[in-house]
């Protein structure tokens, strides 16, 4: 039917080492199991992300305006922030390109890495997380899992989302003479707002 497929699979069957000699090891949970907000924040900062802390009863909109004073187009996909551009206006992947600050909610974070998870369930369109200049991510401190083992074992989103990204700080590169630059091709900054 598909000669390439059949030929490859047959060659693999002929050539593989004896399967009985290589049993599948059981799934293990190794390492630090601290799922605290403090560990999450420390990890997030290592990767260049930051926490947006409210100052004296500030609303989220006010805090975003304070952090990104030059932002003109703020687009929020969460009820906690109003933004300036209604999210319904973002219909095609390219529409997200004009946004200065996107606001989303992550269903969970990972303390070991300071990562937040986003999928199509949290995004009007997948490029929403990447084409804006900056991103503000809402995260409940109760939704932090300890490390990569617990994340993959416990979070159902990995099995249900068609598109699921763990973002650990903003985009970065060190491809020019080893100099670390935050804000390469994707977002220039990533801030987490605990709520």
């Amino acid at each position: 039917m598909n000669p390439a497929r059949d030929e490859i699979l047959q060659a693999l069957r002929n050539n593989r080492p004896t399967p009985e000699n290589h049993p599948l090891p059981p799934v293990r949970t190794l390492g630090d199991l601290d799922a605290s907000r403090e560990r999450f924040i420390a990890s997030l900062k290592i990767l260049g992300g930051d926490v947006l802390e409210p100052v004296e009863g500030e609303t989220l909109d006010q805090a975003i305006a304070r952090r990104h004073p030059d932002a003109k187009v703020i687009c929020s996909n969460v009820p906690e922030a109003r933004g300036t551009l209604p999210v319904e206006k973002v219909k095609t992947p390219q529409d997200a390109a004009t946004i200065d600050v996107t606001v989303v909610r992550a269903p969970f974070g990972i303390a070991e890495m300071g990562s937040i998870f986003l999928s199509e369930s949290q995004l009007p369109i997948n490029s929403f997380a990447h084409l804006g200049q900056h991103i503000v991510v809402l995260l409940s401190p109760d939704s932090i899992t300890a490390n990569m083992h617990t994340a993959y074992q416990e979070r159902p989103e990995f099995r249900s989302a068609n598109y699921g990204v763990l973002m650990s700080g903003p985009s970065a590169t060190a491809d020019i003479q080893g100099v670390l630059i935050r804000g390469a091709q994707g977002v220039r900054s990533l801030s987490v707002w605990f709520a």
């Binding site: 598909n2 050539n15 090891p25 490029s127 083992h149």
Partner: protein
């Protein structure tokens, strides 16, 4: 493709002549190795993770046909089109056809070593498809028409001034820019419109999960996510060895990958693709290109465990002082030297010799590939397959004979002692001239140890020839 053996030694010599580039290259990669060590020290479970990773990979390779079929079934269920390519040409044809069917002329892509293996860009260029690399380092290499010199940091052999010159030509920026931030910004500004107007996006795949039909892409720049989410057509090229059985296995590999590669805990983006986005189409091309044959090589099949972190390159003292391009191959450094000969034994016959067999590569490998032992074994295979230069082979043959005959050997030493102004030829077997190019010869001595022993100890014991143990 020419079959002429790569002259690594000469290319390395050339690389060594440029002190500023050499010094940066060595120090930058050594710094990555140091950062990797720091991450290892943070995790008491590091060696357990390596062991787990190795066992999961070996298991998967031993059941690869079953896991590939499982992946294919799950991926199809989720709406992914799955293709199979026996070699690079077939891969390129498949990708070309997908693009043609969508009338796609502008392709943006993130870094993929497999597409380098397949030499895809020139093929697509001939079909009238414009291909733009979106990873900064890979883009620099594309504009400079060079292979990536490192699998993780493709332009690590270049300095800021080199990049400034390249960008000046293509992006019309100031050739005298010396601030990497300005150059990275120039890349961002140049890439954005290309990304927004692309017809198709292409990525590789770091890991493939059989039980869910997911593939995972790890980047720091976010360029793979842009390539995959802005255009509605996403093609992923993936080597068939990239499978893991379970979603939970990713926990082990993601914890090891970036720590080993760059010494950062995780890549900034770890993206899980399980199906096309709303209104989009997704294709996965599974590429063999020699992998199924390699699986049958008893001494070398474990090289398929490789997760392409580049840690072996960073730690390799030879790689750091010769540069990735000196290997003349898609894969450079220690891992390249054990993989490349499977693609072309004659052309890459010199690469297993571009090593001191020091073993540091094996120690840093997150999936425990015995790289330096495979280098040693490749040398045996290459000699058996007559891929060693005749003169070197003959010298070894003569030396081996001499070493079996103590009387002739002693006579040879005596002869050299007389003319010991030069390097005694028997020790390093005649093709010794290069020794003295950058080094002094060892100093002549009045008597060998053997002579000394005869004079000072021999009378204490009988001079009979040694007997073998009963």
């Amino acid at each position: 493709m020419s079959n002429k053996p790569v002259n690594h030694a000469r290319a390395a010599e050339h690389f060594l002549e440029d002190a500023p580039h050499l010094q940066f290259h060595d120090e930058r990669l050594w710094d990555m190795r140091q950062k990797r060590d720091a991450q290892m020290h943070i995790l008491p479970e590091w060696q357990e993770l390596r062991e787990e990773a190795s066992r999961i990979k070996e298991h998967t390779l031993s059941r690869l046909p079953e896991y590939l079929e499982q992946f294919e079934a799950n991926a199809k269920k989720n709406g992914i089109h799955v293709h199979w390519a026996r070699d690079g040409a077939e891969h390129n044809r498949i990708v070309g056809e997908i693009l043609k069917a969508h009338n796609a002329r502008n392709l943006i892509k993130s870094k993929s070593m497999v597409t380098e293996e397949c030499d895809m860009r020139p093929y697509l260029a001939k079909q009238g498809v414009s291909v733009t690399e979106t990873d900064l380092g890979e883009r620099i290499q594309q504009l400079d028409d060079q292979l990536p010199s490192h699998i993780v940091v493709p332009a690590v052999h270049k300095l800021t001034s080199d990049v400034a010159k390249i960008f000046a030509k293509d992006y019309h920026t100031d050739p005298n820019i010396r601030d990497p931030h300005l150059l990275a910004e120039a890349q961002r500004q140049a890439a954005r419109p290309v990304i927004l107007h692309a017809d198709a996006g292409m990525t590789g795949g770091n890991f493939v999960v059989a039980e869910t039909g997911t593939f995972v892409v790890c980047t720091n720049e976010g360029n793979a996510d842009l390539s995959a989410t802005v255009p509605n057509l996403h093609i992923a090229t993936i080597g068939i060895e990239r499978l893991v059985p379970r979603m939970a296995d990713l926990g082990v590999f993601i914890r090891l990958l970036s720590r080993s590669a760059l010494g950062s805990p995780i890549t900034q983006y770890t993206t899980h693709f399980r199906g096309p986005q709303k209104g989009g189409e997704m294709h996965v091309v599974l590429v063999d290109n020699g992998r199924s044959a390699r699986l049958g090589m008893e001494d070398f099949w474990t090289s398929l465990k490789c997760i392409r972190c580049g840690a072996c390159m960073n730690t390799c003292p030879v790689y750091r002082r010769s540069g990735g391009l000196s290997y003349g191959a898609v894969y450079s450094g220690p891992i390249g030297a054990i993989i490349d000969p499977t693609f072309n034994e004659r052309k890459y016959s010199t690469l297993p010799y571009a090593s001191t067999l020091n073993g540091s590569c094996t120690n840093v490998c997150p999936v425990k590939i015995n790289i330096h032992e495979q280098l040693y074994k490749w040398r045996r295979v290459l000699v058996q397959h007559h891929e060693m230069p005749f003169v070197k082979r003959e010298i070894m043959h003569m030396a081996g004979k001499l070493m079996g005959q103590p009387k002739l050997y002693r006579a040879a030493i005596k002869a050299t002692e007389v003319s010991l102004g030069t390097m005694p030829r028997f020790v390093l077997y005649n093709w010794l001239n290069p020794w003295g190019k950058h080094r002094e010869n060892p100093h002549p001595v009045k008597q060998t140890f053997n002579d000394w022993y005869r004079r000072n100890r021999e009378k204490a014991r009988p001079a009979a020839a040694p007997e073998t143990k009963k």
